[in-house]
């Protein structure tokens, strides 16, 4: 039986990927960020998940307004880094787990989560930056990856509650998979940030810290926060935070907070990192 062994939340700010790719992690601006993520790298190194389900959003790389899917699961055996306008990131190809991804897709749909199933898609910084955060610069990624992409760009996004329930359904799917695979689930994006308009640069650390507190201990109280509240309080791109609910929903009601770290600013964003394990 497969099992979810850990949950990780992290922002997926592209500048972090660029700092790793261009060896800037020891510069004054970046040093505190990379010191702050070190405990999670050690934790992941000890856990050694076989598969990471990475919940992220595509930023007009694989998908566009041409066709907008709310929830996408990637079932391919391999995913390549996308060209986001600079040429693709020079990171290893991402190995999928096609068999398990298909099992999860079928299980989710039977459970009334009508997924879009994708065989061919490049993956952008939303997925590759979390991998770099977790594993630095290996010659090959040490885990297989099942990409789970959420629409957070076109309004209305799915509700946080829907994301939370999707996480619960993913857990049922994983636990009904017959092979003994150890799975980590990663919720990415946020925390507060706004990239656009006259309000660009918005950060709301108070909202973020309170949100993290509740996500860990009282997700049921937090899950009904509305779109408008995220857009207003966490910024128009801060609504990415709903993707952490997929991760949280896949874990026990009571979790152990292994590690938490925030740092402001990283680029235009309040960076957040949260490591959780089941049980209290």
């Amino acid at each position: 039986m497969a099992k979810i062994i850990a949950g990780l939340g992290t922002s997926h700010i592209p500048a972090i990927g660029a700092a790793i790719d261009h060896e800037k992690t020891q510069e004054a601006y970046w040093k505190p960020v990379f010191e702050g993520i070190q405990p999670v790298r050690q934790w992941i190194e000890e856990l050694k998940p076989d598969v990471c389900i990475i919940v992220y959003n595509d930023h007009a790389s694989a998908f566009s307004l041409e066709a907008i899917s709310t929830f996408v699961i990637g079932v391919a055996p391999e995913f390549l880094p996308a060209d986001e306008g600079y040429g693709p990131r020079k990171v290893p190809a991402i190995k999928g787990n096609s068999k398990m991804a298909w099992h999860i897709a079928e299980s989710l749909i039977k459970d009334e989560f009508d997924m879009t199933i994708v065989n061919e898609m490049p993956v952008d910084h939303g997925l590759t930056v979390p991998l770099s955060l977790m594993y630095d610069k290996p010659g090959a990624w040490p885990c297989e990856v099942i990409p789970l992409c959420v629409n957070v760009i076109q309004y209305p996004q799915p509700t946080a509650n829907r994301c939370y329930n999707l996480g619960k359904s993913i857990r049922r799917a994983v636990e009904s998979y017959p092979e003994p695979i150890r799975v980590a689930i990663v919720g990415t994006g946020g925390l507060s940030h706004q990239l656009q308009g006259e309000r660009a640069g918005l950060i709301n650390s108070e909202f973020d810290e309170n949100w993290l507190d509740h996500l860990v201990t009282k997700p049921e109280e937090l899950k009904n926060v509305s779109h408008i509240e995220y857009l207003r309080e966490a910024g128009s791109e801060g609504i990415e935070m709903i993707m952490w609910f997929v991760m949280r929903g896949a874990l026990d009601d009571r979790v152990k907070q292994v590690y938490r770290f925030t740092h402001c600013p990283v680029s235009n964003t309040n960076y957040g990192l949260l490591a959780l394990e089941n049980g209290s």
Binding site: L195, E198, I203, E233, S267
Partner: protein, 132 residues
Amino acid sequence: MKNEDHHDIPGTYVLDGEHSRKGYHLNMFCMSLNNAENREDLRAGEVTYLSKFPMTDEQRQAVLSRDWLGMLRLGGNIYYIFKLAIFDGLNMQQLGALMSGTDMTEEEFKKMMMNGGRRIDGNRSKSESHNG
């Protein structure tokens, strides 16, 4: 009672259905810049390249004059128009300053970020910012 209308958030262009409908071709032009050959074509001649996309004259003009706020107002979404900014060699701080609607410089924008970012107080709703 809080205002539940996303149009009430100041300085924020939410990609709802109406915005998406208005900005479709503008955004799809930006999307085309994921392709290196298309970037070369745009570099070879902007007016010619833009003629391939059925945008409005206003949208075309906003692109040519790099009126970033204009593009947002005309249906653009940040993740799409940022591809044009990447094409121009701009980063998110430079673009943030250019969209601020003031004469803020990149250095001032970076300084604001280093000091904890733009404050939420006074920026929650249009009524609040008009009063503030």
